[in-house]
């Protein structure tokens, strides 16, 4: 057995004195060096091992995994309504791709594919399958049923990749709120889903945030109310032969939009069609948010509220309304003959343009503009829809006193129904500004101007009383709903004639803005009908009092019970 300790003993041993000891000492030195060399070699070897182990220990403890777990998960959280009903969700699906060189019978496969997929014709499929490339997309996303059908073709050149697919269970009911998605970057294994419109686009970052993927995005929309409003508008649109309709229903206190309807609508689960691309009557156009219209007399309560807030008039102040106002070559007049003098309440009740213009002049143009600005009429509504940002109100290029007079009764300014809903909610909220939002429970962080006082509480309350008179014995009598106390205002505006310029007298936008219950204003409803005609009476009428007002009444009749509002009485007195 090797005596490991020998060299050490040798070294530690007292050196023999004298020259005879010299060779011994040299040998001892050599032994030592050998020893050190071996030790260094070992140290190096084990050092490398230790270092390796340390590196392994310090590395990410996540084991590398193969298969589906290894791919990037294109997360996108769900969207739910205020009661947790699913509005948008991800569903695992497939994509179909092909290796054209491996396709055995392209003609047969193409014919079958044309039958399976609604958006793919057999000719297109044949084009795809006969391409001279190694890889081509055929169709995506593919549902399980379609996948099975493709598998039944049994062609080795057709292959599937996994991907997520966005599904909208509520379908067209919430189409305009939700918007839609498109595929961003994609791979055989995954695809990035990007918001293409509506809430999906506005909240794209939040929806794609992996940290918040588990928590659904809660909207302020109530699917039951949305469905009811959509049903009512659809039915009334058919009855009145209207081109389109828009409805906004919102809660006053928080500014939450409970229902937002734009008709015609589309199915967000289906792809865009040629008809969708056409401008104007496109179903994808959100009339309630993107549509900017001259809304007409619905602006009069705003003018009245300004005049009351400025203190230039009281509700019973008499104003001369008999004669038209002349401004240069233009004149402001009423469609019907009005009494020589009317109180401010009657101006609203009977909807006098002249009276309203005089109120606006009393407010004076700079203040009038200031009020409109604070009501948000000069900027897009900061609602959480990607389309909203582009919908800036259309204002007169050069603001004259005539503009002030015209705008006082809703002409010369084109705003979206959502703008009006926000302004009416401000009146209903005791004069404090309400900005519509789609987030459940209101905005987390208030935007500029939210909650700011626009009108004094007294002016707002007085305006509300006038609007109540409109419904009890004014132009909005047909908006009476048995059991519910509504306040509101009608608005009829001629549509601009795109061809000849000026106004087309045969086409109108009819609007009704309602606030209820009057004693404790909680909800605001704005309905706008595009080119309606009421043929139920002896003479057909386009006036909002005969078109939009009954629509609003029917909507409230349907919406209020869903909200749990008890009718005040069953006898039918408004």
């Amino acid at each position: 057995m090797t005596d490991f300790a020998a060299p050490i003993r040798r070294r530690l041993a007292p050196r023999p004195a004298g020259p005879a000891a010299a060779p011994d000492a040299a040998r001892a030195m050599r032994d030592d060096w050998r020893l050190i060399l071996v030790m260094l070699a070992f140290a190096l070897f084990y050092g490398v091992l230790a270092l390796n182990m340390a590196l392994m220990a310090l590395s990410d403890p996540e084991e590398p995994r193969l298969g589906r777990a290894g791919q990037i998960d294109p997360v996108r959280s769900d969207i739910v309504d205020r009661r947790g009903r699913l509005l948008a969700a991800n569903l695992p699906a497939w994509s179909l791709y092909a290796h054209p060189h491996d396709v055995l019978d392209p003609v047969r496969a193409a014919a079958k594919l044309g039958e399976i997929f609604p958006y793919l014709t057999a000719e297109e499929a044949l084009d795809i399958l006969t391409q001279d490339s190694r890889f081509v997309w055929v169709e995506r996303p593919v549902t399980p049923r379609q996948k099975q059908a493709v598998m039944d073709i049994g062609d080795p050149g057709l292959l599937f990749g996994s991907r997520e697919m966005r599904l909208y269970p509520a379908g067209r009911t919430v189409a305009h709120v939700i918007g839609g998605v498109t595929a961003g970057e994609e791979d055989v294994r995954w695809a990035e889903i990007e918001g293409a419109g509506g809430v999906e686009r506005y909240f794209d970052e939040r929806l794609r945030d992996p940290a918040r993927a588990g928590a659904p995005l809660s909207l302020s929309i109530d699917l039951a109310l949305q469905t009811a409003l959509s049903d009512v508008l659809q039915a009334e649109m058919t009855r009145l032969g209207a081109q389109g309709a828009a409805g906004v229903f919102m809660a006053v206190e928080t500014g939450e939009i409970l229902a937002l309807v734009s008709l015609p609508d589309y199915d967000p689960n289906k792809r865009k069609t040629k008809r969708d691309e056409a401008a104007g009557a496109s179903p994808r156009f959100n009339r309630a948010v993107q549509g900017r219209y001259e809304l007409g007399s619905v602006f009069k309560p705003l003018t009245a509220a300004m005049a009351l807030d400025r203190g230039v008039v009281g509700p019973e102040t008499m104003i001369e309304t008999g004669k038209p106002i002349f401004y240069g070559r233009q004149r402001v007049r009423d469609y019907h003959r009005m009494p020589e003098e009317m109180s401010v309440t009657d101006i609203i009740r009977r909807s006098s343009n002249v009276g309203s213009a005089k109120l606006a002049l009393a407010v004076t143009t700079p203040h009038f503009r200031g009020y409109l600005d604070r009501l948000g009429m000069f900027a897009p509504v900061p609602v959480e829809l990607s389309e909203a940002a582009g919908a800036s109100p259309l204002l007169p290029p050069k603001w004259t006193e005539l503009s002030t007079m015209n705008i006082s009764f809703g002409h010369g300014i084109a705003v979206s129904p959502l703008h009006l809903a926000g302004a009416y909610a401000t009146i209903a909220n005791g004069g404090r500004r309400v900005i519509p939002t789609l987030q459940r429970g209101g905005r987390a962080t208030p935007v500029a101007g939210e909650g700011e006082r626009v009108f004094s509480a007294a002016a707002a309350a007085e305006t509300l009383r006038m609007m109540r008179r409109v419904v009890t014995d004014g132009s909005g009598r047909r908006a009476r709903v048995p059991g519910y106390r509504l306040a509101g205002k009608t608005g009829t505006a001629d549509k601009p004639d795109p061809v000849r310029g000026g106004y087309d007298r045969t086409k109108v936008m009819a609007t009704f803005g309602a606030i209820f219950p009057v004693d404790d204003p909680q909800y605001v409803l704005v309905v706008t009908m595009d080119e309606p005609t009421d043929r139920s009476g002896q003479t057909p009428s386009r006036q909002a009092s005969r078109t939009a007002a009954p629509v609003a009444a029917e909507a409230v009749r349907r919406l209020a019970p869903i909200l749990g509002l008890r009718p005040a009485s069953l006898e039918g007195r408004p």
Partner: protein
Amino acid sequence: MNRLTFSAAVLGIVAIAAWAYSVNYKTAHALRTVERLRGQIAETREDVTVMEVEWAYLNRPERLRDLVETHHEDLALGDLAPEHFGDLPAVPFPPREEQDPLAAALAAAASSILAQHAGIEAPVEAPAPGLLPIVHPDAATVGRESQTAVGPGAAVRPQGQPVAADPALTVAADPTAAPQEAASALSDDARSPIERMAVPLPRPTDLGRTSAAETPEEGVSAPEAAEAQSDPQTAQTAETAEIAGTRLAPRAAPLPPAGPAARRARAAAQPTSTGPAQVAAAAPAAETTAPRPLYAPEAAVTTAAPAPAATPAIAALADGQRLPPAVIAASQ
């Protein structure tokens, strides 16, 4: 000594190496398990998502509307309208003294001696008022079973719901005692409780059809029930029913045990299929001949109307009209 230490060290190394190997192996195994479980979780989560989406898709507004239209004949569901709100004051209260639990308890105590011999079933727990308190189609049969088992005190209750004894009446109640005595002691119509259980509404329903078909002589046909409402005392209730009896209102309300008077009135009307005049004539006659519990005919007629059961609160009220049998015994 050196060799001993050396071999001990070698053994130690071997042991440690073995331990390290086993730990390593266990770790690898645990990692595999974790991976498998993660995969399972992911798959389950995916399944849950798919099912949730499918559920939401099946409940989409368009489909629900189609379903409602398809089944309009059977369900008669419609849109919620302001008229569907009922007024609580429109619901008739039963006589006050019968509502008083203290009085019931006192009566029970007073009749405890009688009850000890008779063994009366304690009152049954009220059917849980649900969102739509529709009586189970089997209610009639359940009622009949419970009738033979426990006596006339048993009222309509959902299948499988346990019989709960009223604490105030536990002294009097003894379910194991012979029920026949109680039945005979109470009245002569203990045999036919079915018409107390389910009186068909003016509009023929599944329930009405079933019970009428099964027990032709006991079931009351719809027109008669409607005519029974011609009682001036219940005119207001009938009106309320018309207002609140909407498409969403439940078809049948749990019925309190009707008194013998009501039954006789119907029995008199039944064989000849009489008009309202005869019913009206029969009712006072029954009143004079039969020992009449304080509440009976009114209760029978009012609960035939669909309105009172429209809301849970009202359903509870209707239940309140059911009287502990002990009180029935005492009142006679």
